[in-house]
């Protein structure tokens, strides 16, 4: 090869240009995120063999079989609505104290031993009324909350702010897209002693997301509840009853959850609804990881907005 070849010179020039990449800011950001993820992985790993499944049992959003026939999807959508109502009313905000989880880096997720777990769902009866109906305004939630509510300034295409409320110490903002797709944003005062990591499948990935310098923990996928054949009949039962089901973790389902802390608050963004709709699980309303990140980075303290 002729060392004076023009092409070789071009490669040398290109290498010199390439030396400027990545810039130090990008590398620092990536490094911090990587090490934070490593810490999360390490902590999750350490607790993996010790965790008490009873303590870590958390409510599950109902999903159906991945390849369910269309005729089943409507009934499951209804079931999902019932379950979500039950969860809202029945203690999704009730978090037991677990001080041992207050560590250097809080793990908001913990991997299960495998991708299958036993769950308990509630079917039948009449959903319990929470006494505080959703549908309030953002202004009312800001006025009611004893902390500086963070307001979304970036909303994914197709979504709109549907409602806001402050209840049981939590501000809940609901963004809706095409029914029944929705995204919930929750905000509450952060108390590390009250954080219970959410159970995720053994194959789940916990990804670090930069949120104005804070490290958010993002997980894509969710538990797929396998419903029994007689589920339809069970949900007609006037008495609410618990039902033992099996759930399978699925990384491909377009549900995600992003959790982080900042300004002494704990934030969660969760995608909800949609899995039961006929148009499947790759709907345009299923927010991507990038949309989660944009939404999170677009949350600005109301006090800052008011003073600007």
């Amino acid at each position: 090869m002729n060392p004076n070849d023009d092409l070789i010179e071009q490669f040398e020039a290109a290498r010199a240009e390439l030396e400027h990449f990545p810039d130090s800011q990008t590398q620092d950001r990536a490094r911090a995120a990587f090490l934070a993820s490593a810490s999360v992985t390490r902590n999750g790993h350490m607790r993996h063999s010790h965790h008490n499944s009873a303590l870590l049992h958390v409510p599950v959003m109902l999903q159906g079989e991945k390849k369910m026939p269309v005729h089943q999807s409507q009934r499951l959508r209804l079931a999902a609505a019932i379950l979500i109502a039950v969860l809202l009313a029945g203690g999704i905000w009730t978090i037991p104290t677990l001080r041992s989880l207050a560590q250097e880096v809080i793990s908001f997720f913990i991997r299960a031993e495998d991708n299958v777990r036993n769950d308990e769902i509630y079917v039948g009866g009449t959903p319990v009324e929470s006494g505080e109906q959703p549908g309030g305004t953002l202004a009312a939630a800001i006025a009611a909350a004893p902390f500086d509510v963070h307001v979304p300034t970036v909303i994914p295409n197709g979504f709109r702010l549907d409602s806001a409320e402050f209840t049981h110490g939590v501000v809940l903002l609901k963004l809706t897209c095409q029914e029944p797709w929705a995204v919930w944003i929750t905000q509450r005062v952060f108390n590390p002693a009250e954080v219970v990591p959410q159970d995720i499948g053994a194959s789940a990935m916990i990804e670090a997301v930069d949120i104005h310098g804070a490290v958010g923990q993002y997980v894509h996928g969710t538990w797929d509840v396998v419903l029994p054949e007689n589920f339809d009949a069970l949900r007609q039962n006037p008495d609410r009853q618990s039902l033992a089901v099996e759930s399978v973790w699925n990384n491909d389902l377009p549900w995600g959850k992003l959790t982080w802390t900042a300004d002494d608050l704990m934030f969660e963004i969760v995608s909800a609804g949609g899995l039961m709709s006929e148009d499947g699980r790759n709907h345009r309303c299923a927010p991507s990881r990038e949309q989660f990140s944009a939404l999170a980075n677009g949350l600005i303290a109301n006090s800052a907005l008011a003073s600007s």
Binding site: M1, D5, L7, I8, Q10, F11, A13, A14, R15, E17, L18, H20, F21, P22, T26, Q27, A30, R31, A33, F34, L35, S37, A38, S39, T41, R42, G44, H45, R111, A202, S203, M205, E207, A208
Partner: protein, 185 residues
């Protein structure tokens, strides 16, 4: 810093114990090269940043699950990067409904405004090469990896790597010469 392959074995053993200093060392050693490789291929800084992050996230996940590389960490990272690049290319092709032509040219229509000029020109030229030649030439001439390393990454013999690099360079020269001849004066 370019640790030899035997040093990598020790790094991996410590990484499996989630030793944070070791993980930091791995990141500091390989991140820039992985980022550059992806950036050369995709021509878009933000995409390169995202994919490079995914490479290292995948390493963590594999270490966690006990499925991580036993040796040849550098080759493993580059292979993961290559797979992610191809996945992203497919997604890009699906997004734009463009034909998937050997995974090439999928972001070249919208380079960054501050793209380095020489690198951008080379990237366009490299995209005309068959994928195996493009990868070999990129790793050899832009990332300055040894033929041994490239052989590990591409799962080829060193001889085959040399042949692909040589053919790729010849094809590049011919393509660029042809382009120059066809440009209006």
């Amino acid at each position: 810093m370019k640790p030899d392959l035997s040093a990598e074995h020790g790094l991996l053993a410590r990484a499996r114990l989630h030793d944070s200093d070791t993980l930091a060392l791995i990141f500091d050693t390989y991140y820039a090269a992985i980022f550059r490789y992806i950036y050369v291929r995709v021509g878009h800084k933000e995409t390169a940043e995202d994919l490079a992050a995914h490479v290292f996230q995948r390493l963590l996940a594999h270490l966690h699950d006990g499925r991580g590389p036993e040796q040849f960490l550098k080759a493993w990272l580059f292979r993961v990067a290559e797979n992610l690049i191809i996945d992203e290319a497919r997604r890009g092709a699906l997004r734009t409904h463009a034909p998937l032509d050997d995974n090439a040219g999928w972001l070249s229509s919208s380079p960054d405004e501050d793209d380095p000029i020489v690198l951008n020109n080379l990237r366009t030229a490299l995209e005309q090469l068959p994928s195996v030649q493009r990868q070999a030439v990129t790793l050899h001439y832009l990332l300055e990896l040894s033929n041994d390393d490239i052989a590990q990454i591409m799962n080829l013999s060193v001889g085959a790597v040399k042949a692909h690099v040589h053919r790729g360079l010849t094809a590049l020269r011919n393509n660029m010469s042809e382009k120059t001849n066809h440009e209006p004066e």
